[in-house]
Symmetry: C2
Subunit: 360 residues, 2 copies
């Protein structure tokens, strides 16, 4: 079904162009504008989305033609991938598209940036995500919990994978959930925390799913979290360090990002809950001695993020930004180990969830 939908949409794009050519029109593509000015924070949906501005790109236009051809070339590559049921990474697509036009010294793409942009345009034109176009992002992250998925013909039980867990694919579009026996998902930024929680059997004891990537979450991880949230109504708890980068990881998961605003509906989790660390935890759990003083770059990042629409008008977030500014430093989740090897699993997480002590 998915194959057909993607193939059909790509074919329609081609047929529309052929029609214009047959009618002796200047072939054109209409593309929503991706820019800060056309990115809006949709307060109702609570996500970043694209506005209604579009621009038209023509074949017979000296300043349009290169991008026009790059987009067509990206579409041809995606169609090939969808048809043969294979996937390539962004980098590999760049190499597939890259070539010198015959009889000229013009390269179709000069750098990966060109093919990346062409692929983003293609997403906008076809309303298909990169994953649906069979172009993969980075692969990273692990997951464990009482969940069975069907993927490429295999039944994979996330509860039976030893200390490693399931390695999350870059593309989770075709994964089928066969059974999901869990009440919520805990997502954490660090693989070390994931191993802590996994060794302590947190997913078994709290009947939940634990998931991590490393640092900023990959698209595969975001989409998997979102599918569990939307298709299985599981609340998603986000566990990060108390620092601007942790807040940003939460922000991207929940509200989306400017560069991916056009697919917010496939990637964001508007009801995601921030479980910590918070400024209050530092007080309550006596973590002050573990404060790591801000470098200039951290303080600047905090200041910049304080201006985000969804933080600056939010009473509780404003307080957290204030607290962080006051201590002028960060505290890591790992610092909870000072309270006990399994303190995070035995006390921190269960207590905070029980007391509904999260920020939404």
């Amino acid at each position: 079904m998915k194959k057909n939908t993607s193939a059909q949409k790509l074919e329609k794009m081609g047929k529309d162009l052929v029609k214009e050519i047959e009618q002796n029109k200047n072939p054109s593509l209409e593309i929503p504008v991706r820019s800060l000015s056309n990115t809006i924070f949709d307060k109702k949906q609570n996500i970043l989305t694209l506005g209604n501005n579009t621009s038209k790109r023509h074949f017979f236009n000296i300043s349009h033609i290169k991008k026009f051809v790059q987009t067509i070339e990206a579409a041809a590559t995606a169609k090939e991938l969808v048809e043969v049921q294979k996937h390539l990474s962004l980098r590999e697509v760049y190499y597939r598209i890259k070539r010198t036009l015959p009889g000229t010294n013009i390269d179709l793409v000069d750098q990966q940036e060109d093919s990346n942009k062409a692929i983003e345009d293609l997403e906008l034109i076809t309303s298909l995500s990169r994953e649906q176009l069979h172009i993969n992002a980075n692969k990273m992250g692990s997951v464990a919990g009482n969940v069975v998925v069907k993927d490429k013909g295999d039944l994979v039980n996330w509860a039976k994978l030893g200390s490693g867990g399931w390695s999350i694919p870059s593309n989770v579009e075709e994964i089928e959930f066969k059974s999901v026996d869990a009440e919520f998902v805990i997502y954490m930024e660090k693989a070390a925390e994931w191993e802590r929680l996994h060794e302590d059997k947190v997913w078994k004891r709290l009947n939940c799913i634990i998931m991590s990537s490393q640092g900023q979450s990959t698209r595969g991880v975001r989409r998997l979290l979102q599918r569990l949230n939307v298709e299985h109504k599981l609340p998603v708890y986000v566990l990060t360090d108390f620092d601007p980068w942790g807040f940003y990881i939460y922000s991207v998961l929940k509200f989306g990002s400017i560069s991916l605003a056009h697919i917010s509906d496939r990637l964001t989790i508007p009801n995601a809950r921030f479980l910590g660390l918070t400024g209050d935890d530092i007080e309550n759990f006596d973590l002050k001695k573990h404060i790591i003083k801000f470098k200039e770059v951290d303080a600047k990042r905090l200041k910049d993020m304080g201006k985000y629409d969804w933080f600056k008008d939010h009473k509780e977030w404003k307080r957290q930004f204030q607290l962080m500014k006051q201590i002028n430093g960060k505290v890591e989740l790992a610092a909870l180990s000072s309270k006990g090897i399994s303190f995070i699993s035995d006390e921190y997480i269960p207590e905070k969830i029980k007391k509904k002590d999260w920020i939404i």
Copy 2:
């Protein structure tokens, strides 16, 4: 068994100290010196190892005492971990050890560097690896193939894990191989290549195991590769970009690194084979147009690595270094996609292995 061995060795260390105290001696620890001057390239074993120089550290010595106590503290933490059968990351151990000594303003450790060094000393004193001391490194990487392992009571079949594969734990010491039906292992530096090979079912078609981390391989990945190589006699093929960083990844896997020379015997694979990319591949597969010019840092790296003992006296490697210097640039594995979506799986890898076209 392992638990006992680790616990016993840590206990012996403590008992030796108690004996010195009872004999009114100055308590001391004898530690092999980790420095470039005490790191030697063992040409017989083909790995980097530590020489015989040791240094003695005393409790009653103003310049020794801090490090002495840090090492004892690391030993106490490791003993606790081994006894409760739990694991912590380096960062978490740092927080466990960190505290202000009562009645003073002296912190036992000032930064993670201190506890890291103490743990390395502990490895040397006890001849136990960090993993055996239950202190984990980073978790990263995926694996697939006809292998069944037993881990934490679960039987994990690497052939039945969908598009994701098994997520490699940071610590693979306790994994038991139940069945290994494979002729060799292909290790690659990039997760995107791994997904390419996995989608193309290379492990099934060539009866092998495919494994990747991301960039420099983690200790978990290195140890897993080494165990497959030593315990199951599987040749390990290394697949990297044609650039100094790719060569370095191979170099660390095969010969070890200076900072980890003391556990080379647990991490290195002296018979690892470099499958490519090579300078000859660039010629043979017409990849010249995909050369990415060196930045200064790349050229410098190449020059520095050309001085390594195991490269500078090796005829074939000398040639490869020459070829790279001549083109003054690098070529990525991903560039093979320009020859066909699955060119790397269908032609490049099988052909090179068939022709024994690797560097050893």
